[in-house]
Symmetry: C2
Subunit: 341 residues, 2 copies
DNA sequence: ATGAAAGCGCTAACAC
DNA sequence: GTGTTAGCGCTTTCAT
């Protein structure tokens, strides 16, 4: 273990400086010498020592990817996108799980500094309370995914949550739902807030009364979905519901089934996030699908660009989310056509 | 950014060596000096430069976690376990996705060497073809999770797949299934092989003929499950099926539903892996649940122990998998009792 | 176009 | 107990 640049230099009959130049493909090396060095490196299975390199250059080739929940396919799909894009650029990815908890998130941001990460992709636990100052102090750039940061001038990749929620709500209204409920996420996240706002806008536009009992907030987890749906059932009547994320939908559907509520006849359901079970479930689940993998990819690209040029203006990418109508929200149409998409 | 040990030393009025000793809590430092150093470090917000440290010690505090599919909750739960245990011991974890592909896996093992990882938790893409020699050459220890490595003397954490598959098969037979099918994974993985063997053993013990058309192999993905179930339906009759993992079950259930097969009346289903949708699905899904989080945790612990003492004998942890009977496999019992888990 | 040499921040002998 | 000092493997002036 541990063949060094020195041995490669010896074998190629050149100096270590030349080897370094070749390895970082600097232009000013003669072609034949370049060849010799490359051959020597290959023969010796030379692997540069990254610790030494980053000690010298004061930079690592590692990105952080800090997401709320590795267990949620929505986030892991993002992580895959980040990883693939990073890999392609010769970067590795350190994955961390913030569990939506501010202190945990903060600890990981400190790890990012200690580890001298080149940059961080983050789904912030809170749009206001998340504190990026440690990173800023260390000059480590961030791009926010899924959620935005209030006031911080950081790049972000999101979808138009307001519009998507509003469209989904309209769809339920058009299906004849009289009382459309909303199972939301934590108000401290922009997704939680924007989706609620979109729902409310649609309700208002449709001339429906703004019934506060129709809105229940959860924590973006399965258990949160169970609780929220339980509360909803005990509190009020409703014949349609929009659920703010995948895991919550799971919990909500479970409770609905347990209580014998028939979907979509008694309750029409639309959910955020396309999980693989959405199509295996019966009735098939209508969802607002987000381009998760692409969100991750683009986030990593933005990050890499910013690492290359920290002076860039902050950019906000907004990707399209699309409503996939399936059986769980179709009330007037022949169900046999509902399998499409 | 970048306060060094030197500045801490200056502030505390001691030498860098003393600071280093305190920071690595060596015993031979006087208490008052220790305090002074700690205070100075805190005041300056000193963060050790890990690159410098690992360049010197020739070791990092980073573990690799290389799993087949970050999109599969089974694996991400393992990753969580690894991460938590690592975190607790002051290690970070680098997560990688092998996609069940040997070349991709190999590339990541090389990254592990280049990155000088302290150790790797790996779900090998193949029990025979996975080549650990790069790691061995670099002295990087491995622990295999979910699957074993043939012939390699590495630590492993698995469940008793043979027994679990056999139990699940028996359960289906006891439910009155005459022809129990098996949707399996790649034979190159030990899980694929052992689960098939367990199924076969149960079939034989029950005195049933060994019908090869009842066994279809997939690739552990949703699409693989779809294809396998499609093949099965077109090839033969069956009234019970054991599916070898979560994603495949999703695909299989989708096809079953599309073809109008009623579960459990026409086909009783038991699946490996407890996904969160298993209980939201109707009928609720019977599963062989594995202690995923614990698998990850224990794997990280084994790895950390081995990093501390490379001379340890190889250990094979076998954790219990438990059959959760729910509605999808209950044929004679009143379904109202089937919701229990 | 190539080489010599200085140091990145830290730890570990080795002195005292 | 504490300080001095020599590198770990690499990149990068500065010479040539």
């Amino acid at each position: 273990m541990g063949v060094t640049i020195r041995e490669v230099a010896a074998r190629a009959g050149v100096s270590v400086a030349t080897v370094s130049r070749v390895l970082n493909d600097r232009p000013d090396v003669a072609a034949p010498i370049r060849r010799r060095v490359l051959d020597a490196a290959a023969e010796l299975h030379y692997q540069p020592n990254r610790a030494a390199r980053s000690l010298r250059t004061r930079a690592t080739k590692v990105l952080g990817c800090m997401i709320a929940d590795v267990t949620n396919p929505f986030f892991t799909a993002i992580a895959r996108g980040v990883e693939d894009a990073a890999q392609q650029a010769g970067y590795s990815v350190l994955l961390a799980n913030t569990d939506e908890e501010l202190p945990k998130e903060q600890r990981y941001l400190e790890v990012a500094v200690a580890e001298r990460l080149a940059g961080v992709v983050l789904s912030p636990a809170s749009s206001t309370a998340t504190d990026l100052s440690v990173l800023a102090g260390a000059g480590i750039p961030v791009v926010a995914v899924d959620r935005r940061l209030q006031g911080a001038a950081v790049d972000s990749v999101t979808v138009n949550n307001f519009r998507a929620a509003s469209e989904a709500t309209w769809h339920l209204i058009e299906q004849g739902c009289e009382r459309v409920a909303f199972l939301g996420g934590p108000p401290s996240t922009t997704t939680g807030a924007r989706r609620l706002a979109g729902y409310r806008a649609a309700i208002r536009q449709a001339g429906r009364p703004d019934a506060p009992e129709l809105v229940v907030r959860g924590d973006f987890r399965v258990e949160g979905g169970r609780q929220a749906m339980t509360t909803l059932l005990e509190t009020t009547d409703f014949d349609g519901v929009l659920v703010a994320n995948g895991p919550m939908t799971l919990g909500a559907m479970e409770v609905l089934a347990d209580r014998g509520r028939v979907v979509p006849d008694q309750v029409a359901v639309v959910s955020f996030d396309e999980d693989s079970w959405a199509r295996a479930h019966r009735p098939t689940l209508s969802v607002v699908a987000q381009p998760t993998y692409e969100i991750g990819q683009r986030a990593a690209q933005l990050l890499l660009e910013r690492i290359g040029d920290p002076g860039l203006e902050p950019r906000r990418l907004v990707l399209p989310a699309t409503l996939h109508v399936r059986a769980s929200s179709l009330r007037r149409v022949d169900l046999t056509t509902a399998h499409a998409s």
